[in-house]
Each structure stands twice: as structure tokens, then as C-alpha cells.
């Protein structure tokens, strides 16, 4: 019954998307506004209808309907209700519905905006949104149906299908397989929705960009209209990446947060093009340049979003060889290829209209530095992409599969990230238009001198890694320049308006949110850079087997093994928990309880670290082995991760900065008030 309603709602939504796309395109071609209006309504209603379908899946998950293949796969009796709800995005079929649901929500929201003078874009925005939605729905309708049931044929073969196959019997399991325990972590529960929100929000700017290309508008209207969408997309993508890193750090038990795994890179690639886009649209808005480039970037971002959704959702992927194993693989590649060809075709068709109105005047101008910034982001993207496809390429050309790992990525992207830091330090001091070495030098020498103090102190205190010294210098330079920018702006306001410094700072940021939000983001990057350099270059580790009362030393830390307790929990885990007393510089700093949870039903252990976390460093202990009951030894792997919390702290600052930049501006009111003020007191100020 529920599955019937859910599937019917899914089919209805699919029909709405096809109708919407068709009616909008036909209405625009034949100039019939009533058809376009009807298409707009179809887009509006796609969200309520797919919501019914998503709610039906949630009802099935909560109702333990294990005769439904998807429910049997992602839930079991031991899972609490909140985990059952989140199992909606725990497997492939459900997460495709969830993705579609988010997209439908955004498309509905877009359909309700006041179109005004952008009305000519409306039909084509509908076409792009509805076709994207139709593609994702076709995957669930035809290939990965979340409402399929489990059947046994008379020959004894097991299969899943929505309708009863001839002669087959239904199977109703008493329990399900359950979500992989590694995924039952708050970070992993919100990580996919955050990434999806980021992915899906990028569809909207792409839709406006394509609409602008199709109707032949060469102004930056599409960028202005979708500025907030882009920032929101980028916000969620950043948040998703940071939360994912935190999950890896807390759960995966290797003392790291980023492993250059193809799945991680898949989510990172649209972030790279998105970040480049956020910077280069500023140049288009200010100087009317880089129009082709911005179109290319948004097209690329959209394609990478599709690619990323596919990579992160095809399940088995830990090598590129797994591509073809997923039934949805060929459909994804066909859709990505088709989208690419069509997008580029429209771009080439309008190439001449999009010629820029300005040229680069000086290599040190703000716009030139922004171009270099974009170039570096694209280089990093190219390296990431090459790394992911390296096994395929090498096999094609040499017949020998060659793979690359974290070291490969770090060696290549390290200098590129350093280059980005350098630009981040220099660009705020450069000006638009003509900028000379001499002018820049006058601005730059003081921040450079101040920031050099940081590596100097580090060198004196014994740091010998040249990469770390360079990295810390660059990060410090960015920090100094950014703070100087805030100070400069605020003190100018203070002089002009007589405000106290804090008020001046807040008003300054409030008046020019994108710029100062951007600077806050840069400060977040500085903090993250401090943390990343710290853990990448100065992480130390040790391991050892301890009898009760024995101790293990690492850096300034010492830990004493006090004992092990074992107990069962009501949710089906067998827990082995070690008790440790931790000392730093000989003083007691408390206890840690690293443990191993064994999930009985899924026959899988999970290692949960004990961590003593301070701003300075994390003392991170894993329980990796213990003797059977009656003996006393236990084995530990211990990491000392310097400055790792700066990564998370920087992440928070980063997100706050993005919120500042994306927050709606109060556009009209202050302007009018200032005008009135000026009229009343013409001699004032």
C-alpha cells in the first residue's frame, strides 16, 4: 500500500518533469505565455509530489518493512528510529530520491521568485531544472527502484522487482542487514545531506547560465540573480567537506582527516571550480571581463556535480575499476556527456556575443591576480582529475595499471596551494586597472616584514622543515594582510563617522558583505593552513603492548594502562573499553577510554579513539588489540597531532565568513536614509 503510493508519486513527479520541460521549451519557441505558466506550475508542484514519495520511503523504513529490498538493506531491528529515518540516504536508491527531493525543493523555490525583467530566462531555467530532475528520477523509476520487493523464483533464484514476477514468491525477512556501523556517526549522518545540498544548489546557477546562453543575453544578469545560490551551494559544499573530514578523524582510526581517496576528490572537484567561479564573477561584475570563462566554470561545476554524485553513490568504489559494476554507471556517463556537448555547443554559438569589454591593463592588477588564482584552482582540479583517472590512462597507453596515492597528490598540489596563499596575501593590496610594482611594494613591505617574524621565531625554536617554514610564512602573510584590510577599512570609517572601532568593524562588514565575508573566509583558510601544516609535517606516532600498570611515552605525553572492561549494549554491540591515565610533562591530565565496538549482527568491529584535545595538539589513542579474558595486556596505537584543532577552528571561521557573504543585504533602506540625512544637513560630515 505505502509502496504503491510512493511509487505512484514518483511516477507522477517524473511525468511532471517531462511535461514541464516540454511545455516550457515549446511555449518559449512558439511564444505562448500560458504554456510557460503551466510549465512553471509543474515545476512548483514537483516538490509536493516527490515529498510524498520520500515520506513513503521513510514510513517503510520506520515500519520495518523488510520485504522491501531497500529497507532490508539499510536498516535492521537494532537501529533506533532516528537512524532509520536517515537511512533514506544510506543507500543508492534512497539517496537518489533524496537528491531529487532537494532539487525539486530548490526548483519550486525558484519558480516562485519575482521574475520581472528576467522573465525571458524563465522557460529555459525550467527546462534545465526539469531535465536534470527527470534524469535522476529516471534512475530510480527504471533502475534503482526504492520500492522494489524481494522475490524468490520457482527455480530458487532471488531477485528484486516492484511487480510480482511470474510464479515468484514474496520473501519477508525477519530482520534487515542494517546500515554499515561506520556510517552510524552524527558526522556521517549529516555529511551526505550537506554535500547534496551543495551539489544541488549549483544546478540553479547553471540553469540560469544556460538560459542566458539560449536566449542570447550577454550581460551578467544571470550572475547577479544567482549570486546567493552560488554562495549557498559553496557554503554547503564546504561544510560537507569539513564535516566529512571530521568524521574520518573520529571514526576511521588512522589519525587523519583527508586521504585523497577518489570519493573524497569527487566532492572536492566541484568545490575547486566553484571557488574559482566565486572569484572570477567579481571580475565580470566589475570589469565586464571573463564572460566565456565564467560560463565554462559553471558548466564544469555542474558536470563535476553530476560526476561527484555518481562517484559518491556507486557504493563499491575504491578503485576506478568499479565504474562499470554499477547499473547506473552508463546512464550517468551518457547524461554527463550529452550535457557537456549541449552546453559547449550553446557556449560556442554565443561566443562572439560574450566578448569582454575590457582588457587586462597590468599583470599586477587585481583582475590579473584573480586570473592567476583561477588558473591555480584549475591546475589543482586537473591534477585531481588526472589522479582519479591515472589507472585508466596508464593502462590505455602502457598496458600497465599504475595508481597514485596521497603522496603523489601532496607533492603536486602542495606548491599550488602555496601559490594560492601567496595570491591571497597580495591580491587584497592590489588595485583594479593599472597597478605597478612600485605601488604594490609600498603596500606590501610592512605586512611581509611583520609576517616574517613567524617563521623567524619558529626557526629559532628549532623548526627545520623548509616546507613548513614557507607555509607558515605564507599563511601569516595572508593573516596580516587580511587583518590590515579590516583595520584600514574600520579606521577610515572611524575617522569619517566617529564610530568606535568595534561598531566601525561591524558596519564595515555589513556594508560590503561579500568583500569582508570573503576576508573572514581567508582568515579561516589561514587557521586551517596552520593546522594542516602542523599535522601533515609534525605528526608523530608510536605503538606498544602494555601490561596493566605499564606506561608508554610519546612526545611530552605519557600514558598508563589501567585495565580493560567488556560489556554488551542493548543496541547489539559488544564493547571492549580500555582505561588509560594520561600525563603531560609529568602532570596528570585525566583519563582516556579508547574502545572497540563489535557489531554482532553485521559482524563488524569498529575502533573508537580516545582523544585528549587541546588547541595545541591532540593526543589520539586507538585500542588495536587485547588479550583474551584473564590476561592483562592490551595494544595501542598512539598519535600526537599538533595543531589539528586549528583545522576545525578554521573550518568554523570559514563557514561564518561564508554566512556573512551570503547573508541578504538590506539593499534599499540604508541608502534612502543616508540620502535623507544628506538633505537635512547638507553641510554635515
Amino acid at each position: 500500500m505505502i509502496e504503491g503510493i510512493g511509487f505512484a508519486a514518483l511516477m507522477l513527479t517524473f511525468g511532471l518533469t517531462l511535461y514541464g520541460a516540454g511545455a516550457a521549451a515549446y511555449g518559449a519557441r512558439t511564444d505562448r505565455p500560458e504554456l510557460i505558466e503551466s510549465a512553471r506550475r509543474a515545476m512548483l508542484f514537483s516538490w509536493p509530489t516527490i515529498s510524498i514519495s520520500a515520506l513513503a520511503i521513510i514510513a517503510l523504513l520506520l515500519g520495518s518493512r523488510y520485504d522491501i529490498a531497500y529497507v532490508a538493506k539499510v536498516t535492521n531491528n537494532a537501529m533506533p528510529p532516528y537512524l532509520r529515518v536517515t537511512a533514506l540516504w544510506g543507500g543508492q536508491a534512497g539517496s537518489l530520491v533524496f537528491w531529487s527531493w532537494l532539487l525539486a525543493a530548490f526548483a519550486s523555490a525558484v519558480s516562485m521568485r519575482k521574475w520581472g525583467r528576467d522573465r525571458d530566462l524563465l522557460p529555459w531555467v525550467i527546462v534545465v531544472c526539469m531535465l536534470t530532475l527527470a534524469f535522476f528520477l529516471s534512475l530510480v523509476v527504471f533502475v534503482e527502484n526504492p520500492f522494489s520487493r524481494i522475490w524468490i523464483t520457482p527455480e530458487g533464484a532471488q531477485l528484486t522487482a516492484f511487480f510480482q514476477p511470474e510464479g515468484a514468491r514474496a520473501v519477508i525477512p525477519s530482520d534487515g542487514q542494517g546500515l554499515n556501523p561506520l556510517l552510524r556517526h552524527p558526522g556521517m549522518i549529516i555529511h551526505p545531506p550537506l554535500l547534496y545540498l551543495g551539489f544541488v544548489s549549483f544546478v540553479i546557477p547553471y540553469a540560469f547560465a544556460m538560459a542566458a546562453l539560449i536566449v542570447g543575453r550577454s550581460d551578467d544578469g544571470w550572475i547577479r540573480v544567482t549570486r546567493r545560490w552560488t554562495l549557498v551551494a559553496w557554503l554547503f559544499l564546504s561544510l560537507g567537506l569539513i564535516v566529512g573530514g571530521r568524521w574520518a578523524y573520529d571514526v576511521l582510526g588512522w589519525g587523519g582527516y583527508w586521504g585523497w581517496d577518489p570519493v573524497e576528490i569527487a566532492a572536492f572537484m566541484p568545490w575547486l571550480t566553484g571557488t574559482a567561479f566565486l572569484h572570477s564573477v567579481i571580475i565580470q561584475e566589475k570589469k565586464g571581463m571573463m564572460k566565456h570563462w565564467n560560463m565554462l566554470l559553471i558548466i564544469l561545476t555542474y558536470l563535476l556535480v553530476l560526476f561527484g554524485t555518481f562517484l559518491t553513490r556507486s557504493g563499491v568504489l575504491s578503485s576506478v575499476h568499479a565504474f562499470a559494476q554499477s547499473a547506473i554507471g552508463p546512464m550517468f556517463f551518457a547524461f554527463i556527456g550529452l550535457t557537456f556537448v549541449i552546453s559547449i555547443w550553446f557556449l560556442l554559438k554565443r561566443w562572439g556575443d560574450l566578448r569582454g569589454v575590457n582588457q587586462i591593463d597590468s599583470i599586477l592588477s587585481r583582475e590579473s591576480l584573480f586570473m592567476f588564482n583561477n588558473f591555480l584552482f584549475i591546475m589543482i582540479l586537473a591534477v585531481c582529475f588526472l589522479g582519479v583517472i591515472f589507472p585508466l590512462v596508464s593502462e590505455l597507453f602502457t598496458g600497465q595499471t599504475v595508481t597514485v596515492g596521497p603522496e603523489w597528490y601532496e607533492r603536486i598540489t602542495g606548491p599550488l596551494f602555496a601559490g594560492l596563499l601567496l595570491l591571497m596575501g597580495v591580491a587584497p593590496l592590489s588595485v583594479f586597472g593599472i597597478s605597478s610594482w612600485r605601488a604594490l611594494r609600498r603596500q606590501l613591505w610592512l605586512p611581509v616584514a611583520i609576517s616574517l617574524a613567524v617563521p623567524a621565531v619558529l626557526l629559532i625554536t628549532g623548526m627545520r622543515s623548509s616546507a613548513a617554514l614557507l607555509g607558515y610564512w605564507l599563511a601569516s602573510l595572508v593573516g596580516v594582510v587580511t587583518l590590515y584590510e579590516f583595520w584600514r577599512g574600520a579606521s577610515a570609517r572611524r575617522r569619517r563617522h566617529g564610530e568606535i572601532l568595534l561598531v566601525a568593524l561591524v558596519r564595515l562588514a555589513g556594508r560590503n558583505r561579500r568583500r569582508y565575508g570573503g576576508y573572514v573566509i581567508h582568515l579561516g583558510v589561514v587557521l586551517m593552513a596552520f593546522g594542516i601544516i602542523g599535522i601533515e609535517i609534525f605528526q608523530i606516532e608510536t605503538q606498544g603492548t602494555l601490561a596493566r600498570g605499564e606506561r608508554l611515552l610519546l612526545g611530552r605525553y605519557e600514558m598508563v594502562y589501567e585495565g580493560l572492561t567488556r560489556f554488551n549494549t542493548s543496541d547489539g554491540r559488544e564493547v571492549s573499553r580500555a582505561e588509560l591515565s594520561v600525563f603531560k610533562d609529568g602532570r596528570s591530565v585525566g583519563q582516556l577510554f579508547p574502545r572497540s565496538d563489535y557489531y554482532i549482527v553485521s559482524n563488524q568491529p569498529m575502533t573508537i579513539p580516545g582523544v585528549r584535545s587541546t588547541l595545541e595538539e591532540d593526543f589520539y589513542v586507538l585500542l588495536v588489540g587485547w588479550e583474551p579474558i584473564g590476561r592483562d595486556g592490551a595494544t595501542f596505537k598512539v598519535y600526537l597531532n599538533p595543531l589539528v584543532n586549528f583545522v576545525w577552528l578554521g573550518g568554523v571561521v570559514f563557514i561564518l565568513g561564508t554566512l556573512v557573504a551570503a547573508w541578504p543585504e538590506r539593499e534599499q533602506v540604508p541608502v534612502r536614509r543616508r540620502a535623507a540625512h544628506a538633505q537635512a544637513m547638507p553641510a554635515g560630515d
Binding site: H321, M379, Q543, M606, G625
Partner: protein, 172 residues
């Protein structure tokens, strides 16, 4: 105003192109050097044994089936040893063999399948078990054992579309 006399535009454009080319050249150099230093051959056990000395000392990535009966773990030194049996890397071959789970199962029952002893020092991974697919990165030692620096495990039955065992017990 500075002393710049060249008309704005043209000179900067070529400077910009030169700057871009320098970055591209640097990236190409980085890619080549990083590939030489840290790229790994991805081989099956058969291929590795066939190559013999030719690949000694090179970083290699191997994939194979874990024999659960051979796993030993020395907790004093965190030394993990197990035997890895050859499975084909080619996807079509795996499909023809009845899927990854079947291929792994068969590899361990085939007395003729090539095997290699793997040594890894570190925590015993949560997913290490009989018939799991292990992907190890490391080098062949002179004693004929494979010394792994990295150990990755995949349990195909956990991720693919098969219905769990308990499902069949509860059928009506």
C-alpha cells in the same frame, strides 16, 4: 603614475601568457617527478611473480583474497601476517567468474592459485577476514614476502545488492 610607457594591454597580455605557461611547466614537472617517485604499479599476484627481480624495490599495489586461516597477529610488535591468493584484476574476467565474491571464494579453494605471504606492521584492520579482498601497497622483500606499508580491505558482500543471510531464514 609610474614611468610605464608601453600602451596598456598588449605587454601585460604576453606577460600573462608567459606567467601561465610557467605555471603549466611547473605543474608538468611536479607531475612527472611525483609520478616517478611515488606512483605504484597495480599488479595481480600472478603478474608480480612473473616479473621476478625486474620489479624488486619498486612500489607495488597488489590485490588478492585473504586466507583467514593463515592470519597471525603478533600484538607485541603489531606484526600482521597472512597469505593472499591471486584474483584477476580485469573486470570482465571477474564478471565471467561469477562476480567478485565468487572469485574471492574460488581463489582460496584453488590449489594452483598463486599466493604471496604479506607482512604488515600496524593495527589489525576492522575489515580483515576470510575471503575479504585486500589491496596492499609495499615492496617485495628478499625473503619472498611482501612488506606492505598500507593495507586496504573491501568486503564485497557487504556493499553489493545481495540480500543478507538472515533474510533467507525468515522467508515465508
Amino acid at each position: 603614475m609610474t614611468m610605464s610607457t608601453a600602451p596598456p594591454g598588449s605587454g601585460s597580455r604576453s606577460k600573462f601568457i608567459i606567467g601561465g605557461l610557467l605555471i603549466v611547466a611547473a605543474v608538468v614537472y611536479l607531475i612527472v617527478s611525483a609520478t616517478q617517485a611515488s606512483a605504484q604499479f597495480y599488479l595481480t599476484i600472478d603478474e608480480m611473480l612473473a616479473r621476478g627481480d625486474e620489479i624488486s624495490g619498486r612500489a607495488i599495489k597488489l590485490s588478492g583474497a585473504v586466507d583467514g586461516d593463515t592470519v597471525t597477529y603478533e600484538t607485541e610488535t603489531l606484526t600482521l601476517e597472512f597469505s593472499l591468493a591471486n584474483v584477476p584484476a580485469d573486470l570482465r574476467e571477474i564478471e565471467a567468474g561469477g562476480g567478485l565474491a565468487k572469485v574471492l571464494y574460488d581463489a582460496l579453494r584453488d590449489p594452483n592459485a598463486a599466493r604471496v605471504q604479506v607482512v604488515y606492521v600496524g593495527p589489525k584492520p576492522d575489515l580483515l577476514r576470510h575471503e575479504a579482498q585486500a589491496i596492499v601497497t609495499g615492496q617485495m622483500g628478499e625473503d619472498g614476502k611482501f612488506y606492505a606499508d598500507e593495507l586496504l580491505l573491501k568486503c564485497p558482500t557487504r556493499y553489493d545488492g545481495e540480500v543478507p543471510l538472515q533474510a533467507l531464514e525468515g522467508q515465508t
